[in-house]
C-alpha cells in the first residue's frame, strides 16, 4: 500500500508540473496519453531530486516534505491554469500513412501482438531476475540506492572512490528515486527497483506510440510501436534495472516535446506554447540527472538549438511565429536548475570520473588512427546487431528511407533537423569518449556500445517515422495536384 502511495505521489508530482506547462486546449486522445506517459517519467525524476535534496538538508520527515511539494506543485498548476487562456487553436490534419484497409488492419493486429508480447516477456524477465539482470544493477544503481536509504548521515559514503567500478560520478536519478520509495515502505525491498524499471520501459513505449500518433497519426504510430516493441534488446534491458532505458525515455521526451512545440507554434494564433519548450528543456535536464551520457545529450541539444537560430533566419510560413532567440533563453532557463544541481553533485559529492586519464596518455590515444578505425568498425557492426533482431530493423529503416520519395532532410521542419543534429552530436560524443577511454578499447566497446545505441534507439524510431510519414504524405498530396495540372493542360 505504501508503494502505491509513493508511486501515486510521484506520478501526481509529474502530472501537476507537466499539466502546468502544457497548453490549455482541447487536446486529442493521443496527446492526453502522451502527457500521461511524460508525467510518469517526470514524476520519478522529481521524486529523485526531492529525496536527494532531503538527504542533503538532513530532512527525515519524507512524507511531510512530499506533501508540501505536491501542495506547492498544485498551487503552481492552478495558477498556471488560471493565467492561461484556453486557446481556440484548430489542429491541422496530421500527415499519416494511408495504407489500404486490409493492410491497416494487419498492421493494427501486429501492433497489438508485438505490444502484448513485449509486456509479457518484460514482466516474466522481471520475475525471473528480481534483483536485476547483470552486475550494474547491484554494483551501481541499487548499491547507491542502499547507501542513500540506509546510510543515515553517512549517505555520501556510497560515492566513495574506495568502491571501484561503481561509477560514483554517475548522477543519482535512479538510486534516489528507488531510495525515496523505500523510505515509504521502511525497508530496501527489491521489488521497488524492478517496478521503477518496468515503469520506464512501459512509459518509453507508450510515449513513442502516443507522440507519433499525436504528430502523424495512429497508423504511423503503430509502425513505430512495432519497431520498438520487437527489439529484443529493449525488452532484455527493460527489466535489467540499468539506467539506459530511463535515459532513452528522457531523450525521446525532449525530442517529442520539441516537435509538439513546433507543431503547436504554427497552430496557436496568440503566442507560442512556450511551456512545451520548457518541458523539453526539463527532459534534457532529467537526462543529465540520470547518467553522464545525458549531460552530453543536454549540450548537444543546446548546440542544435543554437544552430537552429541560423536556420530560422528565413523560416517557412508554418514556423513564422518562432522566435529563436527567445526560445534559446527559455531553454537556458529551463535547464539552469538541473545544471546547478548536477554541478553541485559533481563538485561536492561525486569523485572525478574514470574516463579521463592524464593529458599525455589522452593525446597519444587521440593521435592513434587505429583506435578510430576500430571504433568505426564496432559502430558498423553494432548498427546491425545491437537490437538482437532476427532481421535488423536498422537495415529495414535504411531500405525504407531509400525507397521513400526524397524531399531530403533539408526540406523537413526545423525540429526534425535539430533533433537529428542532436543525436548525431551525441553519437559523435560517444565516439570521442571511446577514443580517449583509459580502459581496454575492445572491452569497453564490447560491454557498452550496444547500450549506448539503445539509449538513442526510441528517438531514432520517432524521428524516422516522422520523416517517412511526412515524405509519404507530401507525395500523396503532390500526386493529385500533378494529375490536376496535367488535366488542366
Amino acid at each position: 500500500m505504501n508503494i502505491v502511495l509513493a508511486l501515486g505521489l510521484s506520478f501526481l508530482s509529474g502530472y501537476l508540473i507537466v499539466s502546468a506547462a502544457w497548453p490549455r486546449d482541447n487536446a486529442n486522445q493521443p496527446e492526453r496519453w502522451m502527457k500521461l506517459f511524460i508525467s510518469a517519467g517526470f514524476g520519478i525524476g522529481i521524486f529523485s531530486i526531492a529525496y536527494f535534496v532531503d538527504r542533503w538538508l538532513g530532512i527525515v520527515h519524507i512524507l511531510a516534505t512530499d506533501l508540501c511539494l505536491v501542495t506547492l506543485l498544485l498551487a503552481v498548476y492552478l495558477l498556471a491554469r488560471a493565467r492561461r487562456k484556453p486557446s481556440n487553436s484548430i489542429a491541422d490534419p496530421v500527415p499519416d500513412l494511408k495504407p489500404p484497409h486490409w493492410l491497416r488492419r494487419l498492421l493494427m493486429a501486429s501492433f497489438g501482438i508485438s505490444i502484448l508480447a513485449a509486456l509479457y516477456a518484460t514482466v516474466l524477465r522481471a520475475l525471473a531476475h528480481p534483483h536485476g539482470d547483470g552486475w550494474d544493477a547491484f554494483a551501481i544503481w541499487n548499491l547507491h540506492a542502499r547507501f542513500l536509504f540506509l546510510g543515515g548521515s553517512h549517505w555520501r559514503d556510497g560515492f566513495s572512490t574506495l568502491i571501484p567500478w561503481s561509477h560514483s560520478d554517475y548522477p543519482p536519478l535512479i538510486p534516489a528515486a528507488i531510495a525515496h520509495v523505500w523510505s515509504y515502505i521502511g525497508h530496501d525491498d527489491p521489488i521497488v527497483p524492478a517496478i521503477i524499471s518496468l515503469i520506464f520501459t512501459c512509459a518509453t513505449l507508450g510515449l513513442l506510440v502516443s507522440a507519433v500518433a499525436t504528430l502523424r497519426g495512429i497508423t504511423t504510430a503503430a509502425m513505430a510501436g512495432i519497431a520498438l516493441a520487437s527489439t529484443p534488446f529493449f525488452i532484455e534491458q527493460g527489466s535489467s534495472q540499468y539506467a539506459d532505458i530511463p535515459l532513452s525515455f528522457f531523450f525521446l521526451a525532449a525530442a517529442a516535446l520539441l516537435h509538439l512545440f513546433q507543431q503547436r507554434s504554427a497552430q496557436v494564433a496568440d503566442g507560442s506554447p512556450t511551456g512545451l519548450f520548457v518541458l523539453a528543456g526539463a527532459a534534457t535536464g532529467l537526462a543529465a540527472w540520470t547518467k553522464n551520457e545525458g549531460l552530453l545529450f543536454l549540450f548537444a541539444f543546446l548546440a542544435s538549438q543554437i544552430a537552429s537560430v541560423a536556420w530560422r533566419r528565413h523560416p517557412p510560413a508554418s514556423e513564422s511565429r518562432l522566435n529563436s532567440g527567445r526560445e534559446l533563453v527559455i531553454f537556458l532557463l529551463a535547464i539552469a536548475p538541473f545544471l546547478l544541481l548536477i554541478l553541485w553533485f559533481k563538485h561536492f559529492i561525486a569523485p572525478s570520473g574514470d574516463l579521463f586519464s592524464g593529458p599525455e596518455a589522452m593525446l597519444h590515444k587521440i593521435l592513434t588512427p587505429a583506435r578510430y578505425w576500430a571504433i568505426l568498425r564496432w559502430y558498423g557492426k553494432d548498427f546491425l546487431r545491437f537490437g538482437n533482431w532476427v532481421v535488423p530493423t536498422t537495415i529495414l529503416f535504411v531500405a525504407i528511407g531509400l525507397l521513400s520519395p526524397s524531399a531530403g532532410i533539408r526540406r523537413q521542419n526545423t525540429a526534425l533537423r535539430s533533433s537529428v543534429l542532436t543525436l548525431t552530436m551525441t553519437l559523435c560524443g560517444y565516439f570521442a569518449v571511446y577514443v580517449i577511454t583509459p580502459n581496454d578499447l575492445y572491452w569497453h566497446l564490447r560491454f557498452s556500445l550496444n547500450r549506448l545505441f539503445l539509449q538513442v534507439w526510441p528517438t531514432v524510431i520517432f524521428l524516422f517515422f516522422l520523416f517517412v510519414s511526412g515524405q509519404a504524405s507530401s507525395e500523396s498530396q503532390a500526386e493529385p495536384n500533378s494529375r490536376q495540372n496535367q488535366a488542366n493542360l
Binding site: L97, P99, P100, L103, L106, L107, S110, I113, S114, A117, A118, Y120, A121, L124, R125, L127, A128, H129, P130, H131, W135, F138, A139, N142, L143, R146, F147, L150, G151, G152, H154, W155, D157, G158, S160, L162, I163, P164, S166, P190, M223, I226, A227, A229, S230, T231, P232, I235, G387, N388, W389, V390, V391, T393, L396, A399, I400, L403, S404, A472
Partner: protein, 125 residues
C-alpha cells in the same frame, strides 16, 4: 509503400517471436536470487560490524572474484568495503573453499558460516 509496410511488419514479427521464445517459462520461472542469497550469507556478520565506515575485504581469486566482491559490498552497504586487508576489520569471502594461506596481518575472529569470515587486521591503516 504497401510492400515496404508489409515486409517491415513481417520482419518485426520475426523478432517478436524471438522475444517470446527467449522469455522465461511462466510455469517454471527459475528466479535468479544471487544477491538475495548473498544478503542472507552476510546477515550474521552484519550484526557484528559497525553501522558505517570502511572495512577491508579478502576473497577468492579467479573469475568469480569481482562479482563476489560487489555482492559483498551490496550486502554490507552502507559500509564501504575496500578491497584491501589493511583495515582494523576485514571480511573474508570464500564461498567455494577456505583459504589455504592468509595474509600474516590478519587474525581470525569468527567463522560466520557459508564461507564468510571475520578478521581483525593488525596493521590497520
Amino acid at each position: 509503400m504497401k510492400c515496404a509496410i508489409l515486409l517491415f511488419t513481417i520482419c518485426c514479427l520475426l523478432s517478436t517471436i524471438r522475444i517470446l521464445r527467449e522469455a522465461p517459462n511462466p510455469v517454471h520461472i527459475t528466479r535468479d536470487d544471487v544477491s538475495k542469497k548473498s544478503d542472507e550469507r552476510f546477515a550474521a556478520v552484519k550484526t557484528r560490524l559497525p553501522a558505517s565506515g570502511v572495512i577491508g575485504y579478502i576473497g577468492e581469486s579467479g573469475n568469480s572474484s569481482t562479482p563476489d566482491y560487489y555482492l559483498t559490498q551490496y550486502a554490507l552497504a552502507p559500509l564501504v568495503v575496500d578491497r584491501s586487508s589493511h583495515h582494523a576489520i576485514v571480511i573474508g569471502n570464500f564461498p567455494l573453499s577456505r583459504p589455504s594461506d592468509l595474509p600474516p596481518n590478519l587474525r581470525l575472529v569468527e567463522d560466520c558460516g557459508s564461507g564468510v569470515l571475520l578478521f581483525a587486521g593488525e596493521d590497520a591503516k
